[in-house]
């Protein structure tokens, strides 16, 4: 080897300069590339006491990922990556994974669903970090007022769609009016975001019930995972309660209901929010699950279809049962709708890399989804700036052959959703 490669000072400097400039150049090319990745973070409970809400997530995500394949923005194809995280039914955990999604994964849009315990902490993190966020499956009052929302100002980065307490109260009252039982109601309101909102004298059940001529026995807030409901049962018995209502997690309702059996308390109508949504819960109650009633936010007979896949409510529910062998659940509609809105936002946003442009697109949403029309532009369905109310009906679990089916028995709040049967009394 006679020729040794010798680098002089000038060459080294040029090389070093290029090396230093490389990241900037690379970044510039990435920004102009056609296949930019838009990351969606999705938080829901798939384990824990409220895992029923996230039970269908695997099925929903599979369908949504397929439908997201051909999305375009400003005429260019968009790669969408969905990162799903489990909240383990805990609000602390939900906040933790939301932070992780924002800081570690660098998501462009956060979606969260299922009870204020998941929606609120995720929305709070999003608002704090100025990341666009859409949430659902939490009545809007605990979502909005639970986060200290000011109706005059609203939030900048977080939007929500679901029904409100006024809807569920209206539904329960007309359900009971038709049943013809004594107007004596017992309330089970735990010490959590939902329980405090539903039992709130101003926002919750007490006021409207009194106006409608119902006497409410509310023994007070109890701790979650309560082991003893004797005092509630005694108070209900003493007041001659014929209707039990409230908003409990499924384990608490199961404990209450078996103790009610033990202690000879036999109400005629039991309409409880949150606890009685899932077929698996009703089945675990055995014979005593037949005849319990609940609010219904989505069902296969809802006259809506998906803007993302074009499937009707019935087709999506049947698809779920066919794929998993399990009966349909209500969160399917809403969790699917979250991704419908995300897809719609991706199509319309002026610049997907700019959070401001993304949230502007969210605010301008006007979409017919699987759960009804969604728009935050300030119509009768927008009680406050960041919230849109969706249709709500109510119904009863009725034994049909060897399984129980949730039948819509009251559609007074939204008559275009058809009823499927009559309410039957428990005793």
């Amino acid at each position: 080897m006679s020729k040794i490669i010798m680098l002089n000072r000038r060459q080294i400097l040029t090389g070093a300069g290029a090396l230093l400039a490389a990241p900037a150049l690379l970044r510039a090319t990435r920004a102009s590339a056609a296949d930019a990745t838009f990351k969606i973070g999705y938080v829901s409970p798939t384990t824990g006491p409220i895992a029923g809400f996230g039970e269908a997530d695997g099925f929903i995500l599979e369908g949504v990922r397929k439908a997201f394949a051909g999305l375009t923005n400003n005429g260019k194809p968009v790669q969408v990556e969905i990162i799903a995280k489990d909240s383990q039914s805990s609000s602390n955990r939900a906040a933790e994974v939301a932070t992780e999604l924002i800081e570690k994964d660098g998501v462009n849009l956060l979606l969260a669903s299922a009870t204020p315990d998941t929606a609120n902490p995720v929305a709070d993190q999003a608002e704090l970090n100025e990341i666009p966020c859409i949430t659902s499956i939490a009545p809007w009052q605990p979502y909005f007022f639970g986060r200290n929302g000011d109706p005059a100002k609203g939030f900048n980065w977080t939007y929500h769609f679901f029904w409100g307490l006024e809807d569920v109260i209206g539904n329960f009252i007309s359900l009971w009016d038709k049943s013809g039982v004594a107007k004596k109601v017992g309330g089970l309101f735990p010490n959590d975001a939902d329980g405090n909102a539903w039992g709130d004298p101003k926002l919750g059940f007490p006021g409207p019930l009194e106006k409608a001529g119902y006497a409410l026995t509310d023994p007070g807030r109890f701790q979650l995972m309560n082991a003893d409901f004797s005092s509630q049962i005694a108070a209900f018995k003493a007041a001659g309660v014929e209707i039990v209502t409230g908003v409990t997690i499924p384990p608490d309702f199961a404990t209450f209901w078996s103790q009610a059996g033990q202690q000879g308390f036999k109400p005629k109508v039991v309409t409880v929010g949150k606890a009685l949504l899932f077929p698996s819960v009703i089945e675990s109650l055995g014979e005593r699950g037949d005849g319990l009633s609940s609010e219904i936010w989505w069902s296969p007979s809802h006259p809506f279809s998906s803007s993302l896949t074009g499937e009707s409510s019935r087709q999506i529910a049947d698809g779920y049962t066919k794929t998993t062998g399990k009966p349909w659940t209500q969160p399917i509609g809403f969790n699917h709708a979250l991704f419908e809105i995300a897809a719609d936002v991706i199509k319309r946003a002026a610049d997907l890399t700019d959070p401001k442009a993304v949230i502007d697109a969210v605010a301008a949403t006007d979409l017919k989804t699987l759960v009804g029309p969604i728009s935050w532009k300030g119509g009768p369905a927008n009680p406050v700036k960041n919230v849109v109310r969706t249709p709500l009906v109510s119904g009863q679990w009725q034994k049909q052959g060897d399984k129980v089916e949730l039948v819509i028995t009251n559609n007074s709040q939204y008559p275009s959703i058809p009823v499927g049967g009559e309410l039957k009394l428990l005793s």
Partner: protein, 288 residues
């Protein structure tokens, strides 16, 4: 009538609390060990019963045939291999080790069984009851729980005062050095005590799991109820522990009657009051 009913229901819940507390009381009595993982061991044995039921298809009470020996064996090995190494004049090492054990058990259960809550189903027996008088019904299952608690305490009491192993327990408790001089192997005596404790824990876990739902994070809550029952009743006195459980159950039920938000609080208040007035507990060992 309301108050009679509330007090009766409180007494019956107290039976469950006594089951939580008995094992704790026994261990403290024999080796002055405060087991922070006690609540998690209760939850773990509920999961063990759940697993046995899934595998064999038997009912929760039948599952005890397998769960009690398995739990006892685990207790024996736990004491022999781990906890014996921590026992010394200093009370801090066993506290720290069982605290660590508590975290390991919780996360282990979370990993294996997920955070989903479960319940062991006893069918219609759960909701059947005896009608005493208008407004007062006693459920078969709470009554059975209470009866089992009494039987467990009675059995342990007999074992303690009328058997060779009971004599060994009392000997190592009174003076470990002299007991050793008399030819007792303290290490295996301690291990037997822990095995006995875990057998009671297994019963407590299964009854807890039939009464209400359980999940991996519930252990520390059960530990507090157990602790309070032990302290209220007086350290080292098993009948006192039963009384402590009942007092705690009644206090909670009465608190809940005033306002359900007070349910747990009133139990804690009674505990603090007794601790302030009679730090030895209501029925300390010497007096019994």
């Amino acid at each position: 009538m309301d108050w009679i009913n509330i007090i009766i229901q409180g007494i019956l819940v107290g039976g469950l609390y006594a089951l939580f507390a008995t094992g704790l009381s026994l261990i403290f009595g024999v080796m002055r060990l405060v087991n922070i993982a006690h609540g998690d061991l209760i939850v773990a044995s509920a999961y063990l019963a759940y697993g046995v039921m899934q595998l064999t298809g038997v009912g929760p009470l039948t599952s005890l045939i397998a769960v009690i020996p398995l739990a006892a064996l685990f207790g024996y090995l736990l004491q022999l291999l781990v906890l014996n190494r921590t026992l010394d004049k200093d009370i801090l090492p066993p506290l720290l080790v069982t605290f660590g054990l508590s975290i390991i058990i919780q996360n282990g259960l979370l990993e294996i069984f997920s955070a989903n809550s479960h319940k062991l189903n006893l069918g219609s027996f759960e909701i059947e009851s005896i009608h005493l008088m208008p407004g007062v019904d006693i459920g078969y299952f709470p009554l059975l729980t209470f009866a089992v608690a009494v039987a467990v305490v009675f059995g342990l009491q007999q074992l303690f005062y009328h058997s060779a192993i009971g004599r060994a327990f009392r000997a190592v408790s009174d003076d470990p050095e002299v007991a050793q001089l008399m030819g007792l192997n303290n290490r295996t005596v301690y291990a037997s005590a822990m095995a006995l404790c875990l057998a009671v824990v297994a019963v407590a876990g299964v009854f807890m799991a039939i009464r209400a739902n359980f999940d991996p994070s519930m252990g520390p809550g059960r530990l507090i109820f157990g602790f309070e029952a032990v302290i209220i009743g007086g350290l080292g006195n098993l009948w006192g522990t039963l009384a402590g459980g009942v007092i705690l159950g009644v206090a909670q039920a009465l608190g809940a009657q005033i306002d359900p938000g007070w349910q747990l609080l009133s139990g804690h208040i009674v505990f603090l009051l007794i601790l302030a007035v009679k730090p030895q507990g209501l029925f300390p060992k010497g007096a019994a």
